[in-house]
Amino acid sequence: MDLAVILSVLDATIRLSTPLLLACLAGLYSERAGIFDIGLEGKMLAAAFAAGAVAAISGSAWLGLLAGMAVSLSTTLLQGAAAITLKGNQLIAGVAINMLAAGMTTFLGQTWFSQGGRTPALSEGGRFSPITLPFANELSGVPILGPIYSELISGHYILVYVAFIMVAVTAFVLYRTRFGLRLRAVGENPKAVDTAGISVVKQRYQAIIITGLLCGLAGAYFSIAQGSGFGNNMTAGKGYIALAALIFAKWKPVPAMFTCLLFGFLDALQIRLQNFELPVIGVVPVQAIQALPYVLTVVLLAGFIGKAVGPKAGGVPYTKER
């Protein structure tokens, strides 16, 4: 393989891992605060739809993004009301959110736009365009490093850069700030947090608000950056892959980035491996590569490669008698 092919695959890897990474970080905030979130998929889908719809109507990608984040946030708050305030089962709340999003997006899409659930294709301004980083063109002539900078690093949508910056931000917030300390504590031992005079409920809501906003970014990426308009079930299970990545990364931000890159890479490879004859193995069924992230997660969970131990209080609603 020559440099161009490698760059092409890596370029696609970055594009494909971005929504995973955003969703994975979203899940990280919520799960670190002790709320299991299998509703990432639904929130992304809802956001993708809202972003696509508003961008189509307003012609502004930024308004679309805003709408996506707002809808994702309200979906998250609904889930939070069930899981935090009403102390319902967090898993069931997630399942419900996923179904609600799947149904509502297509239903509203069909009613509003009559395009089989799709939103109209976006005009020029309705969609984010790739950003060329400074000197990208000038440096492209430099051997090896030039193309890497100008093709691989430069020329992505703004959300791509946001996603990767969020990794550093998340790591900082989690380990270096008061908010992060409390967030981690509330996911490990909410009672300790409560007796320390901090409201568990407030802390958890703060966490899921971030989750909602990040899921909004992830969803918007599908419809107004990577794609041009919303399509039915556009997220296609990426929320679950992000969840798998979160577990795989043991709920840590930097490993989360690498896991998402790995899963994105598998996806990029899968697209390019169609009909591609590998030496010895022959043609690998595309389905095998598609299933790989799930299989890897199961293997990890089974403790064959390390052990994934989540936040201790995860999944348990915090009850305090009054």
């Binding site: 270096r176 700030t177 409390r182 490990e188 031992n189 320390a196 409201s199």
Partner: protein
């Protein structure tokens, strides 16, 4: 209630004034009236003890003071000023700190992080951590509370964790410190250290509220003591003007006969033999280290020890609930095969019954009806249905018999088990295990959380079984219980049986020393364990 109320001690304002005044505090949990019209005044610069049976409402009252629960009614005054304590933050702001019965620490955080949590100075952690490190250094020097600030909580001992809790409160500027049963998990040595710290605190003018079940501790360290019974405050007295006997009577509401009537044991052949048993806990730490002993028919062997020294693991391993690393358990001459997660079934088949330490976590399914619990562990018996099917009528019949025999109240086998009180739940478990006519009965904490009336009944049943020629292994953290029931006492420390004692002759002091793993010549300061034999 026929006890006359002793004069409430120190009714007039003390020299330093009141640190805390509680008036007419009420708290209900559903149908349980946990605190009824509680009045309590605590003088500044004193150590104030609170005693009372399990479930008397002590923890509830302190949780109200600490803002963890809100009282249904009543007033709280702190330093003379009326205070509305809606949450723990406000309690902390008023200078009230609490060390809970179950520690409130984040296990995978460092000591420093735990101390800073909730008391950070700013949005960023670094400055807070730096300040905490310095402050910790000072507190350490001032009170002799030594801990490594960078250690992770789950790696340090229980005693150290408790220090972290105290440091947490002091770091937040606590003037009044509440300690809820702080010594339950400590070795006598650690308890001594703790009391030294408490005395230093008092010397610095701080107020300490100490909840404990150990009257000796009350007598040794407190200035005043309050007694609670069934949700009510029955008395507050000066420690110097009372005695353990009087306190016990106040707690229960009648004269307590702490002695058990029993005849001398008449042991027969060996029924249970434990050989070189090694057992690890859930974390893989070896907790039972090469333990061997034997129990004969018609005798009760008690295992004494501070909790956490391997007794639970020993019990669980003998009864097939926990895999053993090595060693054998021989029952009635035949080795028991206990491996696999259904070892308990084979132990039962071989004739070993088990009353577990924690009835709600283990011995009962609290969401089941009483009759369903009456066959738990024996549901596979042909008596409760042939083949794969369950004979509900037979099970209900057995349940009704058990309820009658053990006087379980209410005598309703269709009632959900969680609706029975602690003592009655314990009776349900005892009835089930004893009615199966086992050869060996293993009992853990038979009277934990059980009131005095039920204790008498349970103790008598245990003696009766012994007299029928059963072998009984008794594990209890209540030294008094062991001393009054057992025919032989084995003392366990750090996973080893460090000695055997005859309950008739051994003094509490000797036993205490063994339990602490200290030989008799070790130097001591505050002499809590240095008491004579039982009255």
């Amino acid at each position: 209630m026929n006890t006359q109320r002793p004069e409430t001690a120190a009714a007039s304002a003390p020299a330093n004034g009141w640190a805390i005044e509680l008036e007419k505090i009420n708290k209900r949990f559903g149908a349980v009236h946990a605190n009824k019209d509680i009045d309590l005044k605590i003088a500044r610069g004193t150590i104030h003890g609170i005693v009372g049976e399990n479930g008397a409402g002590k923890s509830t009252l302190m949780s109200i003071l600490y803002g963890f629960y809100t009282a249904d009614s009543g007033t709280i005054r702190v330093n003379g000023a009326e205070a509305n304590i809606a949450d723990s933050r406000q309690a902390l702001a008023l200078g009230i700190g609490m060390v809970h019965q179950h520690f409130m620490l984040v296990d995978n955080f460092s000591v420093l992080e735990n101390i800073v949590l909730g008391a950070e100075d700013s949005g960023f952690l670094k400055p807070s951590l730096n300040r905490a490190r310095k402050e910790l250094d000072r507190l350490e020097k001032e009170y002799g509370l030594e801990v490594d600030p960078d250690a992770i909580i789950e790696d340090i001992s229980v005693g150290q964790q408790q220090r972290v809790e105290i440091l947490k409160a002091l770091y937040r500027g606590a003037e009044t410190l509440i300690l809820d049963e702080p010594t339950g998990v400590l070795t006598p040595k650690e308890a001594d250290d703790l009391f030294r710290v408490l005395e230093t605190l008092r010397a610095q003018g701080k107020t300490v509220i100490l909840i404990t079940h150990k009257l000796r501790e009350i007598m040794a360290i407190t200035d005043n003591v309050s007694v609670m019974r069934q949700g009510q405050m029955v008395a507050t007295v000066k420690t110097s003007e009372t005695s353990p006997e009087e306190l016990a009577e106040l707690m229960v509401g009648r004269r307590v006969l702490l002695r058990v009537d029993k005849t001398a044991a008449n042991p027969g052949k060996t029924l249970l033999e434990v050989q070189n048993l090694v057992v690890a806990d859930d974390m893989g730490v070896t907790r039972v280290k090469d333990v061997s002993f034997a129990i004969r028919a018609g005798e009760i062997v008690g295992i004494a020890g501070v909790s956490g020294n391997g007794q639970s693991e020993l019990l669980e391993s003998i009864t097939g609930m926990r895999d053993q690393k090595s060693g054998t358990v021989v029952l009635n001459g035949k080795p028991l095969s206990l491996e696999g997660d259904d070892g308990a079934a084979r132990a039962r088949q071989a004739g070993l019954a088990h009353v577990p330490e924690d009835r709600q976590r283990m011995g009962l399914v609290t969401t089941f009806q009483e009759w369903e619990n009456a066959i738990l562990g024996y549901h596979d018996k042909p008596a409760y249905g042939s083949g794969a099917f369950l004979d509900i009528a037979a099970a209900k019949k057995a349940a009704a018999d058990q309820v009658k025999l053990f006087d379980v109240r209410p005598a309703n086998i269709n009632l959900k088990s969680s609706l029975f009180s602690g003592g009655n739940q314990q009776k349900i478990v005892l009835a089930r295990e004893m009615e199966q006519d086992p050869d060996v009965l293993v009992i853990g904490q038979p009277t934990r959380g059980v009131d005095i009336g039920a204790i008498e009944f349970i103790h008598n049943e245990i003696i009766k079984m012994r007299d029928e020629g059963k072998a009984i292994l008794l594990v209890s953290v209540e030294l008094d219980e062991i001393r009054s029931l057992a025919d032989r006492i084995l003392v366990m420390f750090d996973g080893v049986i460090v000695g055997e004692a005859d309950p008739a002759t051994a003094t509490e002091g000797e036993l205490g020393l063994m339990m602490a793993g200290i030989n008799k010549t070790a130097p001591r300061t505050i002499g809590i364990a240095e008491q004579g034999p039982l009255p």
